[in-house]
């Protein structure tokens, strides 16, 4: 390890940040000891990012102070944070895609020379890499690196800049379980030696239990507790996170006799926008009353597959069969074969943000009676009525059926889409990361709805980057790696480790 500076301690006192009517942070304290691996827990919108951005100088806090090694410091911009040795790895990488790894490292330095002597820099970089627990190819363009390598490069960058206080924003969301464990393990060792202090934003209890020493929990902008990550139970932590919010009981899995195959994907090929193959010879069958979960690290062709199935991307080759008949993903096909879908980021992929809730809910039915007469004359009355009924049934919180759907919160947009897709008769349901970015209550609700559909006899294809979601819902798990299915197993015959190894391509 690099000699010299030691891991610092950091304390935030009474951090407050107000955005208009919203109190994003309400006198939040945070104490991270030197050389510790500290987890910052909370649901989406709890204020974790706001807190961290205040520490990093992206926002100026309305009240409160930051103490570094016990002394109050003033951080007005990310530049100040950097000068103090506080660095952050963002969820969305901040590496420049068109620059090489070496260029990214050198330009990140505050004292980057006006004219760069590459021979000298390269030698210095190689010497630096020698001392690091993990390496990244220096000459590769960042856009060609895998997500795991990018993540490593981000962390190497902080070490290269000698930033000993490291903030990681959900660092493992793009890694395989194996990569995640390796990375967190190495950081944990470095922290233990007193080289770095780590503050990690996370919502994965398993990682927090396995790698962190301490944790702090936020809920709705308020501090709700902290403690020793080793001794606290997952129950304690989740109670602090969720508070007294009522969480709907999970739908039970109903055991059913074996049913026939409904959805069959036969040799599907698809290309990405640049014409490179992303889905290669993919074969998969889904039975009625079964959830097949597709696990995989993001970027292995899952989103292209979902786009093919939902008609957003042309199929280069192959065929889709539903109940033995060839299905083409057109409006007519969806209607005829009762195929429905919940795509990821529904506001972007399944809704028109500026149109009203009622209109968005009517997307499947606006050309059929009772909304449309003769197939083209639309009457808003029945449409609004239907929307009102579904809004009540699916508990969508909205100002009314005429409010633009973009004014709804993430969970409520997903509920409105759910109402549209699941209110009819469903034979095939295609779901992609349905709970991404949602709060606990919505997650529970949406997962039970999916389970209900399964119990009712729909064939469900669930594509998810969240392995826990798949372990909870799926009857069978399939792993997608390099654009094809590399492993299929009934859920009771497999475990996290086996799936993880296949996700990593072994």
């Amino acid at each position: 390890m690099i000699e010299g500076k030691r891991a610092p301690s950091l304390e935030a006192v009474g951090m407050t940040k107000v955005f208009g009517p919203l109190v994003a942070l309400d006198h939040v304290p945070l104490k991270v000891e030197a050389g510790s691996f500290h987890a910052l827990l909370g649901e989406n919108g709890a204020g974790k990012s706001t807190l961290v951005k205040c520490i990093m100088g992206f926002y100026s806090a309305d009240d409160g102070a930051v103490l570094l090694n016990g002394e109050e410091v003033s951080i007005k911009s990310p530049r100040d944070a950097r000068a103090l040795g506080i660095g952050m790895v963002y969820q969305h990488f901040t590496l420049v895609p068109s620059l090489t790894a070496a260029e990214n490292l050198v330009i990140s330095r505050a004292d980057a020379p006006a004219v760069i002597d590459w021979a000298k820099e390269r030698k210095a970089l190689e010497a630096f890499m020698e001392q690091m627990p993990f390496r990244v190819p220096l000459n590769a363009q960042v856009s060609s690196l895998s997500a795991g390598e990018k993540q490593k490069l981000e962390i190497l960058k902080l070490l290269y800049l000698d930033q000993r206080f490291m903030i990681l924003d959900e660092p493992t969301s793009v890694l395989t379980p194996g990569e995640a464990d390796e990375m967190l393990g190495l950081l944990g060792q470095m922290a233990k030696k007193g080289d770095i202090t780590v503050l990690m934003i996370s919502h994965k209890f398993r990682e927090v239990k396995a790698f962190c020493d301490h944790f702090t929990v936020l809920r709705r902008g308020k501090y709700t507790g902290s403690g020793d990550a080793k001794s606290a139970t997952i129950g304690d932590m989740s109670a602090m996170m969720i508070g007294d919010t009522a969480v709907r009981e999970r739908a039970q899995r109903v055991t059913q006799p074996a049913k026939p195959d409904v959805l069959e994907l036969a040799g599907i090929f698809a290309e990405d926008n640049e014409g490179l193959p992303v889905v290669k010879a993919l074969n998969l069958k889904v039975k009625a009353g079964e959830i097949v979960g597709i696990a995989g690290v993001s970027g292995n062709g899952q989103s292209a597959l979902v786009e093919v199935l939902s008609g957003q991307r042309p199929m280069a080759d192959g065929a889709i069969f539903i109940k033995g008949k060839e299905f083409s993903p057109t409006r007519k096909g969806f209607d005829q074969y009762k195929v429905f879908g919940l795509p990821e980021e529904p506001l972007k992929n399944a809704a028109v943000p500026k149109m009203s809730v009622a209109e968005n809910i009517a997307f499947r039915s606006f050309d059929k009676p009772p909304v449309a007469k003769l197939g083209w004359w639309m009457s808003p009355g029945p449409m609004r009525e239907k929307a009102r009924e579904l809004i009540a049934k699916y508990r969508v919180k909205t100002q009314g059926p005429d409010a633009p759907i973009e004014t709804l919160s993430g969970g409520n947009v997903q509920r409105a889409i759910l109402a549209r897709e699941l209110s009819g008769d469903v034979d095939v349901l295609i779901v992609a990361n349905p709970c991404f970015g949602l709060d606990f209550a919505s997650v529970a609700e949406i997962r039970s709805q999916i389970m209900d559909q399964r119990n009712r006899g729909a064939a469900v294809l669930l594509v998810s980057e969240d392995l826990d979601e798949i372990l909870e819902l799926a009857d069978r798990v399939a792993v997608m790696s390099g654009g094809t299915i590399t492993y299929v197993s009934p859920i009771e015959d497999t475990d996290r480790n086996t799936i993880g190894q296949h996700m990593a391509g072994h």
Binding site: S77, P78, R79, R82, M88, Y90, H92, F93, T94, L95, V96, P97, S98, L99, E103, V106, I107, S108, A110, A112, P113, A114, V115, I116, W118, S143, N273, E274, G275, L276
Partner: protein
């Protein structure tokens, strides 16, 4: 000597050298601006204003090189204005560019009226073809010094984008504003400076238009060359050296029509005059679909 093929080829060489210079400067300026993540469509206006200012200053001071500098200065002002307006929230750089195009041309016509008649000193060409007894070749090789300035500049820019701090910062800003911000780089400032510098170069391109042989200023001087040069940047995939190639190619193609007429082929005159545009279009369609083209686009450009 009367070989028609040779005549056409010499004419194309001459065209490449003569016509390419303003394209070079505008394309280099635009490359610089677009590499920083902003589009300045107003360079046509900058080019025309540069031509006017260069001519006026050259006439008033009697020194053509002072005219070149003044044109660069006028271009900087227009570029800086574009850069400043685009810094304001919710401003679209493409729309501002179109407005600046009209503004620059309008300004040039307004102040340029009195300079249409008088004769200003122009930039002396370097007779590189003096060794040849072929008058056509000798004429083709009368090279304006700005031509060499452009080539050196392109090589310098290509080198600087890879080997200097400023080069890396411009590429970073153009490819990922979020990364640049996270590193404490002021994205607005970088783009402002890059647009101003791009304007400077386009202004010099304008100076060439009015101060090279025969050296006149009138309102039809540019006839859309600034716009074409902006398109050449895409064609050259944001690489300064390729931009020079594209400008040379475009100049050579432009000489096809007149030279064919000179050797007596009059059929399809207008068709051959359109050659540069048709060829550019064809090459663009072929090359734009490739994978590497998609990779070269600066990630922050609004026109993806």
């Amino acid at each position: 000597m009367d070989n028609p093929v040779l005549t056409v080829l010499i004419a194309m060489l001459g065209g490449a050298i003569r016509v390419s210079t303003p394209f070079m400067f505008v394309a280099l300026g635009e490359t610089l601006t677009e590499k920083s993540g902003r589009i300045n469509l107003g360079l046509e206006g900058t080019l025309v204003l540069g031509a006017m200012v260069a001519y006026a200053v050259s006439y008033l001071t009697g020194n053509a090189w002072l005219g070149v500098l003044a044109a660069g200065g006028a271009g900087t002002v227009l570029g800086a204005l574009h850069g400043y307006i685009c810094k304001l929230p919710r401003v679209n750089d493409v729309a501002v560019g179109i407005a600046m195009m009209s503004f620059g041309t309008g300004l040039a016509f307004f102040f340029g009226k009195p300079f249409i008649q008088p004769q200003a000193p122009h930039l002396e060409a370097i007779p590189l073809g003096a060794w040849s007894d072929n008058p056509a070749l000798a004429q083709a090789l009368e090279v304006n010094p700005l031509f060499f300035v452009g080539i050196i500049l392109a090589i310098f820019l290509g080198w600087a984008f890879k080997n200097t701090r400023w080069g890396l910062i411009i590429r970073m800003t153009g490819d990922s504003a979020a990364s640049a911000k996270a590193m404490g780089v002021s994205v607005d400032l970088v783009r402002f400076l890059a647009t101003a510098a791009g304007g400077f170069l386009a202004g010099i391109g304008g100076a060439f238009l009015s101060l090279s042989y025969p050296g006149i200023w009138n309102q039809g001087l540019s006839s859309g060359q600034g716009l074409m040069a902006v398109a050449l940047v895409i064609f050259a995939r944001w690489d300064p050296v390729r931009a020079i190639m594209a400008a040379l190619f475009f100049g050579a193609a432009g000489a096809i029509g007149p030279s064919l007429q000179a050797v007596g082929i009059t059929q399809g005159y207008y068709f051959f005059n359109a050659a540069p545009y048709i060829l550019t279009l064809i090459i663009m369609i072929i090359s734009a679909g490739s994978k590497s083209a998609a990779r070269d686009v600066p990630g922050e450009l609004t026109m993806k």
